[in-house]
């Protein structure tokens, strides 16, 4: 009993709540989410005002779903996201396989170059893509947006997949070949199924990234119909309509849902480490 008191005092000393850290964290989250909270709140405003909240209503959601231009843009954004997702997953998985398996100097150089799009300012990528298309006399359209988004997204898929492929047991593919599978069959029947959780997770991530993307889409899109993010930008130049609040809230909900899905996929498969990047493990 004589020892206990000083011991407890000591513990209380180190376990004391770090008040400064708590305050900083609170301010951080406030600054981060307050503007978004305002958008979500005012999307349900009964009035047209952007400063005074008066009564709950779904009129801005209704207005959005009756706005043909916005709906067309939404459709375009979904199309672009789906195509970019499919394209970048196919190319990104192939690239990751190549980078892991090809252990030459050229291979490791390619591995470094692959990371460049992740750190290049997006506006540089956007302007560069636009200049390339113009220089090649390609008319900007939904096709050019898709091409630019695929190029931009491959790196994400490759970064996620590369660590998973490196962690695979090479004996498993050898076992498949030992049992009579050709190299291609071994890849299709054994390796790709083992990578499926990571592939799905990276696909969802790419979809969310592309759907939200503005800068690249802005520089590479044609006239009509434009992706939703570009359309919103054009709209607010002529004054902010409360409809935009509703659109923003819907996009936010969609993105949060997708990211949640990306995180949940590996768990659904009963395995860890699908999205090491996002979960920080």
């Amino acid at each position: 009993m004589t020892l206990r008191t000083p011991h407890r005092r000591h513990r209380r000393g180190t376990d004391r709540r770090p008040r400064v850290a708590l305050t900083v964290t609170a301010v951080f989250f406030l600054l981060l989410y307050l503007p978004i909270a305002v958008v979500v709140l005012f999307s349900f405003n009964g009035q047209k005002s952007l400063t005074v909240f008066k009564g709950f209503s779904l009129r801005w959601y209704s207005a959005f779903f009756h706005d043909n231009v916005l709906i067309e843009s939404l459709g375009m954004s979904l199309r672009v996201s789906l195509v970019a997702m499919a394209g970048s997953v196919v190319l990104g998985v192939a690239l990751a396989l190549g980078l892991v398996r090809c252990r030459t100097r050229l291979g490791s150089l390619a591995g470094l170059i692959m990371l460049v799009p992740l750190i290049t300012p997006e506006i540089v990528t956007g302007v560069a893509a636009m200049l390339l298309f113009k220089g090649m006399d390609i008319t900007l359209s939904s096709g050019t947006v898709m091409l630019a988004e695929i190029t931009f997204s491959i790196s994400y898929v490759t970064v996620i997949l590369r660590s998973r492929i490196a962690a695979l047991n090479p004996e498993v593919e050898e076992a498949a070949m030992d049992l009579g599978a050709t190299r291609w069959q071994a890849l299709r029947l054994v390796t790709l199924p083992a990578l499926l959780p990571s592939i799905l997770a990276s696909a969802v991530l790419v979809f969310a990234l592309v759907f939200d993307d503005f800068v690249l889409a802005y520089f590479t899109t044609g006239v009509d119909p434009q992706p939703l993010s570009v359309r919103i930008y054009s709209a607010i130049r002529f004054g902010v309509q409360p409809t935009i609040n509703a659109v923003g809230t819907l996009m936010l909900a969609g993105s949060v849902g997708l990211i949640g899905l990306a995180l949940a996929i590996p768990r659904l498969f009963g395995r860890r480490g699908g999205l090491d990047l996002l979960s920080g493990k």
Partner: protein
Amino acid sequence: MTSSDAPSAGAAPAGAPPAIRLDRLSKNYGGSYAVHDLSLDIAPGEFFSLLGPSGCGKTTSLRMIGGFTEPTAGTILLSGEDVTALPPDKRNVNTVFQSYALFDHLSVADNVAFGLKRKGVGRAEIRERVGVMLERVQLGGLGDRKPGTLSGGQRQRVALARALVNRPQVLLLDEPLAALDLKLRRRMQVELKQIQREVGITFVFVTHDQDEALTMSDRVAVMNEGRVEQCGTPEDVYEHPTSRFVASFMGTSNLVPGTYRDGQVVLDCGPALPVGDRGGVADGSSVSLSIRPEKIWLSDFEPGMALVRGVVRETVYSGPTTTYLIELAPGVTVSVLEQNTDRSRMEDRWSGGESVEIGWRPEHCLVLE
């Protein structure tokens, strides 16, 4: 190699080609040889072990037979057919990998059926053969489980069943028991040997565990630095090692330095011991006297034994046996293994510092140059 006249259980009938013939097989990695000039004949139905320390080239040899590693030189013949240039999927050989390499996204039954499906075997036949094989490895009823839910021993059996169900000419096993705990390993050794006898398939078994090789094999090739040091029955390589390496790798062996002269070895530490006539060993050549710990006597000596005095330095009791470390001269210590058959208390035995006499039959020691 004396493979054809080795008294192995599964010796090839005269005229039939060996199940495996390795002819001057080499693998060179960036200037150093992993396997060097390896020639071996393995008879059909034989349980053949490649034994050696890690890095001796045993796994590389196995991978070359399986088709996963391309040899730098030499040829591989399976039942007389040259398969050196064929990919793994074109060889009638299956492998049990060290990591088991199971397909985790498939059920146990689908794992086992994998090879048969690749071959285009009919559905009904696949189901039947998979069922029979799962029963044989005592996994009946677990066909619907995923490999991830099985224990280590069960996963090992799935790997075995997945390979054996294809009825290969040769089954390659790369340290398949290494990941199991000692008790389970002992049980699987017996079981594996039993299965091999039942199916009559040639097994090539890679291991670094000499006990395992001795227990299971018809013949053992002891490998060191990419070469076969000695190849023969377990008894051959254990009782009559032909090199210092084999003598010390196969169990414990006491190696005492000395000089051979007229049927005697004059130990560097003084005494001259009779070893019998050793043809082929030149008089005056420096040799190592090799003697197994269990072949040394501590009492009740017989006439004609080589006797030498020493001091007990250490007594290690380990249940059925006791090991004594006995110093013959400064720096020359031999270990002696004694059965504790007549003893229930150790007090009447020697303890450290006591001077004792030890002895052995001359024919039990080996003179290695």
